[in-house]
């Protein structure tokens, strides 16, 4: 009998809470800074807002959500069923860590902020792709399909949209994927 407890469900809830925190902070920030427009302004512009929107964005959308996503990624890697899951979880954890840094190094930091934001997006994208491969090999085909569709749409958006549009719609897609992956982790826990 194995004495090791399966905490994958707890980690999956961290992902769901991360999405909830991000949406809450995003809605609050957009309500406070009414000059910000969806798809026109980049999300990072909240970070240098003169209003309290900067607090909601830097602490809520970036630091707290980043920590929760990083923890979720660690859980995904720790309870990996194959190399795809392990690689995907590690990349998601790195993406979460870089999301924390986005909140620390705001747009005022110039190129450092751009480098961190692009790295975060790349880590999350490759994390989604690697997890999709892992899910496919682990016979979780439908959840792999969500990852495949999200990854394809992100590539299409990267070509079709400008940075502001890609960021806004891309984050919504990433949140949908995070929710689906959390449900996947809950459903395939050890009994």
């Amino acid at each position: 009998m194995s004495l090791q407890k399966d905490h994958s469900v707890a980690f999956s809830w961290l992902g769901m809470i991360g999405v909830a925190v991000f949406i809450f902070a995003w809605v609050c920030a957009a309500s406070i800074d009414t000059a910000w427009q969806f798809g026109v302004n980049t999300l990072s512009e909240f970070g240098i807002s003169d209003t309290d929107a900067s607090l909601y964005f830097n602490y809520g959308c970036c630091m707290i959500t980043g920590a929760l996503v990083a923890a979720f990624g660690i859980g995904r890697a720790a309870y990996a069923k194959n190399k795809g899951h392990a690689a995907g979880g590690t990349l998601i954890a790195l993406g979460g860590a870089f999301l924390i840094l986005v909140g620390l190094f705001t747009m005022d930091s110039g190129d450092v902020h751009v480098m961190i934001a692009v790295s975060m997006a790349a880590f999350l994208f490759f994390g989604i792709a690697a997890t999709a491969v892992g899910n496919w090999n682990a016979d979780r085909k439908v959840f792999a399909g969500v990852g495949i569709i999200v990854a394809c749409l992100l590539v299409a958006m990267a070509v079709a949209f400008d940075v502001a549009g890609l960021e806004a719609y891309g984050i919504i897609l990433a949140m949908i994927w995070l929710l689906s992956e959390s449900v996947n982790m809950i459903l395939c826990r050890k009994n």
Binding site: V142, G145, I148, I149, A156
Partner: protein
């Protein structure tokens, strides 16, 4: 005589329906302008993908369950990509994604997997 599961019949019918919807949308949203050829090409590509899916569900189809599922996901992704590039109408895209999702549901049933993975020809 081999009995085809109802889910497989529904999946095939949905694939055919998706193709027909695409062709109807091609006619409905056709506007004679510079990008007309590209837009028509997108609708035709998606229609071909849906008809191919319907063919995959047919008795003589040679696609395994995994290939059928992957093709369904790719079809949904192509529909989504077409909407992103504004080559396809948003409502047509939503309708086709729903049809694609229903095909995934029909494929997710264990009887569909058993049927699709054995020799059908």
């Amino acid at each position: 005589m081999e009995i085809v599961p109802r889910n497989v019949k529904v999946g095939g019918a949905l694939g055919f329906l998706g193709g027909v919807v695409c062709v109807i949308c091609l006619v409905l949203f056709l506007e004679i302008e510079e990008s007309a050829l590209a837009d028509m090409g997108v609708y035709m590509l998606v229609a071909v993908m849906f008809f191919a899916l319907a063919g995959g569900f047919a008795k003589g189809g040679q696609w395994s369950w995994e290939v059928l599922l992957l093709m369904t996901f790719l079809t949904i992704a192509v529909v989504g990509g077409s909407v992103v590039f504004e080559a396809m109408d948003l409502y047509a895209g939503i309708m086709l994604v729903i049809i694609g999702a229903l095909i995934v549901v029909s494929l997710s049933v264990p009887s569909s997997k058993t049927w699709a993975n054995r020799m059908r020809f």
